[in-house]
């Protein structure tokens, strides 16, 4: 029996009127059908063979509720509707195998094959009764349904002798296909509307009852049960055995399909201007498409949520809880959020059905990130809503390039396109780029005193614990941006980004500026253990006792000079020590040495006891009282170090000329 026969012309018996009636929105039935066809030769009373062939069909069913045909009683009253189903994207896969062995000759027939295909539903319907005194209730209780499915699997037959010699092979097409032909619920007749027949608008109960009398009970593989929906599902199984020539053929069918309404809706994008800040929230809205006219309960799932330590790079303890959570106060009644164990997600549901719902999400980290999806439950089924921008979820915050940095920050900072781990700060330009903090870290930010700051991915930045407490003097002239932090805002090793995690550029230290180093009484300042980057300099010392007798200019100069050493800046040149012309021992300034170059540079020595001029001779000389307040950008000498070589008042000028090192700003290195 071919499936095509299903186009039973039974409909022709009914006075159809060709009026279409489209459902308000697409309604689908989805699920699985498994059909196993077994042919047992021993049971066929066939004297020539033994063996079993089996074909297994797996169907991923998808039907569409296409039309509704009113069923009217003789008085013209609509007492029910036949909801007609058509295939809408089903697919199937199948495999067949088996061996039959002849009894009289040493031969066997082997079956093999596998395949897949689409559309399987030949016909189907669900009856919905609409009247308590439905005249068809004896044969058609509400929810009654019938399905007719079919698929053909092309197979290979191979005759072999018992010694394995192939006697004959018949390819697919030469032999009948293995067939999945299932008629469910066909105690009632399967009547068809097959998609080509003009769509009837109505059928009368009398005609339908007559149709029902045309039972297909004779069809050997029909499901003999009357099927009705259970809990809204098409669910069941049957086993049918063939008779007569098909004795030995068994069909076992199980199916489970559920109705899926065509529920669609949207989840709005996060406010593009929102970025995570500790304990600040953002509200997102999801809605069922308004044209559907249905309500449902909403479920929001936060997932892929970050778990950075603390809440900023240098604050918030070392906890690694979820960085985004549902806020305690929600715009409408909601369930308590659930955190599935071992996940980075949280789920919350609205308590009441509505056409839309909003959810408030709070950030627990300045670098928090995650994704949000929204679903709605209608008639017991969850439907995923379309997320803004396509796909099934949105990022929180807005993060089109999925690097966990809010896009607005990257765009505002001019680093769109750079990696989250990039550390390319180049202001002020110098010997290397970077300040030790990656883009993500600069974005996530730091606590500075009681303030949170997000730093610049372009500007070199330095954190200083200023125990000396008298400010950073002229150090701002270096071009490095400084932040004066609390003692607890770097760790015992002075690492500032001690809560680093995602996309870090590594540990970066801050500087300790202190007046407590036991410095020699006459030394204004010193760095320990040596000139270097903040990662190498243990402490920057200012002699507070000396500074008590110094001018504010001198103090500001001294602080900047020592901080300069702590960002790798060297002196303008060397100096000598000793006596000059029989005087006391002291520092001797040398040509191109420590006092040379730009006199306004904090790294230049302003004083020495003596100087050795371009003529190679040593002179006792009192340097003018000058304290630089800049970081020089060239080696050129200025003031007493500038001009042509000449003699003034018996002294060679310029005093020390251009510097040997110089260009102090360019030497700045933070890592």
């Amino acid at each position: 029996m071919a499936a095509g026969l299903a186009a039973a012309t039974l409909l022709a018996l009914v006075p159809w009127r060709p009026t279409a009636q489209a459902p308000a929105r697409p309604v689908h039935w989805e699920g699985t059908i498994t059909s196993v066809v077994t042919e047992d030769f021993a049971r066929q009373q066939n004297p020539f063979a033994d063996g079993v062939w089996t074909a297994t069909f797996q169907v991923r069913a998808k039907w569409l509720e296409k039309q509704r045909i009113d069923v009217k009683d003789p008085g013209g009253r609509t007492t029910g509707q036949m909801v007609m189903l058509v295939d809408d994207g089903s697919s199937w896969t199948a495999e067949a195998s088996g061996v039959a062995v002849t009894r009289r000759r040493p031969e066997r027939l082997q079956l093999s094959g596998s395949g897949s295909g689409g559309s399987v539903l030949q016909a189907g319907w669900v009856y919905q009764s609409m009247a308590d005194d439905d005249p068809l209730q004896d044969i058609l209780p509400t929810g009654s349904y019938a399905l007719w499915t079919a698929a053909d699997l092309q197979v290979l037959h191979t005759f072999t002798a018992t010694d394995g010699t192939v006697i004959l092979q018949r390819s697919p097409g030469e032999v009948p296909p293995q067939q999945m032909i299932n008629a469910f619920g066909t105690r009632l007749p399967v009547f068809f509307w097959n998609g080509q027949t003009p769509v009837p608008a109505a059928i009368d109960t009398t005609g339908l009852r007559r149709l029902m009398a045309n039972s297909l009970a004779d069809y050997p593989y029909a499901d003999l049960e009357r099927r009705t929906l259970m809990d809204g599902r098409m669910q069941g199984s049957f086993e049918a055995r063939g008779r007569a020539s098909e004795a030995g053929v068994t069909r076992k069918v199980t199916w489970d399909l559920h109705r899926r309404l065509g529920i669609t809706g949207t989840l709005d994008a996060v406010d593009a201007a929102w970025r995570p800040r500790l304990a600040e929230e953002v509200t997102l809205r999801a809605a069922i498409d308004p044209g559907l006219g249905v309500t449902g309960r909403f479920r929001f799932t936060l997932f892929d949520v970050s778990r950075e330590k603390g809440y900023a790079l240098n604050a918030g303890g070392n906890g690694t809880g979820l960085d985004l959570r549902f806020s305690g106060a929600q715009p409408q009644p909601m369930s308590r959020p659930v955190e599935p164990p071992g996940s980075n997600s949280l789920v919350i549901e609205t308590s009441d059905a509505a056409t839309s719902a909003s959810v408030a999400i709070a950030a627990f980290d300045y670098g928090a990130s995650g994704r949000l999806k929204a679903e709605v439950m209608v008639d017991g089924e969850w439907y995923l809503l379309d997320a803004a921008g396509g796909g099934s979820s949105i990022t929180v915050p807005l993060d089109a390039n999925s690097n966990r940095i809010w896009d607005g920050w990257e765009q505002n900072a001019g680093v769109w396109g750079q990696a989250a781990s990039a550390d390319q700060d180049d202001e002020p330009a110098g010997e290397n780029r970077g300040d030790g903090f990656s883009n993500f870290e600069e974005y996530r930010g730091f606590m500075v005193g009681s303030d949170w700051v997000t730093t610049s991915p372009k500007h070199k930045e330095l954190f200083i614990y200023d125990a000396y407490a008298r400010g950073l003097g002229y150090f701002s002239a270096s071009g490095v941006l400084t932040y004066t932090i609390q003692q607890t805002q770097y760790d015992a090793s002075r690492v500032v980004n001690f809560n680093r995690g995602y996309a870090s550029a590594g540990a970066q230290k801050g500087l300790l500026l202190t007046g407590d180093c036991g410095l020699d009484e006459t030394t204004a300042g010193e760095v320990f253990p040596d000139v270097g980057t903040p990662n190498n300099v243990d402490k920057v010392c200012i002699n507070s006792a000396v500074m008590r007798t110094a001018s504010s200019d001198e103090e500001a100069n001294t602080i900047a000079h020592e901080l300069g050493h702590a960002v790798s800046v060297e002196h303008h040149g060397d100096y000598d020590e000793g006596a000059c012309n029989g005087g006391d021992d002291g520092v001797i300034a040398t040509w191109g040495g420590a006092t040379s170059g730009h006199r306004g540079c904090v790294m230049a020595y302003s004083d020495a006891a003596y100087y050795r001029g371009w003529d190679g001779r040593c002179y006792a000389w009192t340097f003018p009282a000058e304290f630089g307040d800049q970081f020089c950008t060239s080696k050129a000498g200025t003031s007493i170090n500038s001009g042509a070589r000449r003699m003034e008042d018996g002294h060679p000028m310029p005093v020390s000329g251009s510097s040997t090192a110089g260009n102090c700003q360019h030497q700045v290195r933070l890592k």
Partner: protein, 264 residues
């Protein structure tokens, strides 16, 4: 203002408290109730103390048996960090300071316990004071009972009607060598007692004639008395005895010397 009593006995070590103060910002707006959702999973969240001013403490010690000086420095960190443009308005009440200032010791578990009583010897005057980026206000206190070396110490004090607390500072070890003891004492004296400084400097020169420090402090003492020629001679003697080959030269000495030589 001179308080001879405090330095009466062989110059108590001075405990210099240096308090730097920051004004704290109020919390950002738009905060929400976080109580509802999930348990705050192992995440110690907002625990930052919110105080208006920040303070730093520096401890200066002298010889064993001396008192110590603490300098509490107060500054507006938000101004220095360019977070705000207008500095805080700070006011001091000497009577409230005297009554409310406290020294605290850190216990091994991190808690604070009360330390010994202290006296305020210097405090800002003329209130209220508008903080500027460069402003550092100091409150000096003197401790007669010193914590053991290594003990972490902090000071809390009433400023502008609220309590401000310094960061923790470790109590330094007292010097052992006699010359170092005298130098430490001189260092404290030069900060506020120039006339007693002279005697200590002379003692240090007598004890250690090759040590530059005695001459340097003698120069400071003479300079403060207006003895320019004597000061120059003392500084030159110090320079002669200053060790070579350090990264930074004795620039403080040059500057004093150059300043005196330039003076009419």
């Amino acid at each position: 203002m001179k308080r001879p009593g405090i330095y009466g006995l062989a110059l108590a070590g001075l405990l210099v408290v240096s308090v730097a103060a920051w004004w704290y910002v109020s919390r950002p707006a738009g905060r929400v109730d976080l109580g509802g959702g999930v348990e705050p999973v192992q995440q110690a969240e907002p625990a930052q103390p919110v105080e208006p001013l920040m303070a730093r403490l520096a401890i200066e010690t002298g010889a064993p048996g001396d008192e110590a000086l603490g300098i509490v420095s107060l500054f507006d960190g938000r101004l220095r960090n360019r977070i705000t443009a207008e500095g805080a308005l700070v006011s001091f009440s000497r009577s409230q300071l005297d009554a409310g200032i406290r020294v605290e010791f850190e216990r091994p578990d991190g808690a604070a316990t009360a330390g010994p009583a202290v006296s305020v010897v210097r405090a800002p005057e003329g209130t209220p004071i508008r903080m500027e980026a460069s402003t550092t206000l100091e409150v000096w206190i003197v401790m007669t009972t010193l914590p053991p070396a290594g003990q972490r110490v902090r000071v809390s004090l009433p400023v502008s009607g609220r309590s401000v607390t310094t960061d923790w500072v470790m109590m330094p070890a007292l010097p052992g060598a006699p010359a170092d003891q005298l130098a430490a004492r001189a260092r404290l004296q030069q900060m506020r007692e120039a006339d007693t400084l002279a005697a200590t400097a002379d003692a240090l020169v007598a004890l250690a004639p090759l040590d530059a420090r005695g001459y340097y402090y003698r120069g400071l003492a003479l300079e403060s008395r207006g003895d320019r020629a004597g000061a120059i001679a003392a500084y030159e003697a110090a320079l002669e005895r200053t060790p070579n080959n350090r990264r930074e030269p004795p620039s403080a000495l040059y500057r004093r010397l150059a300043g005196l030589r330039r003076a009419p």
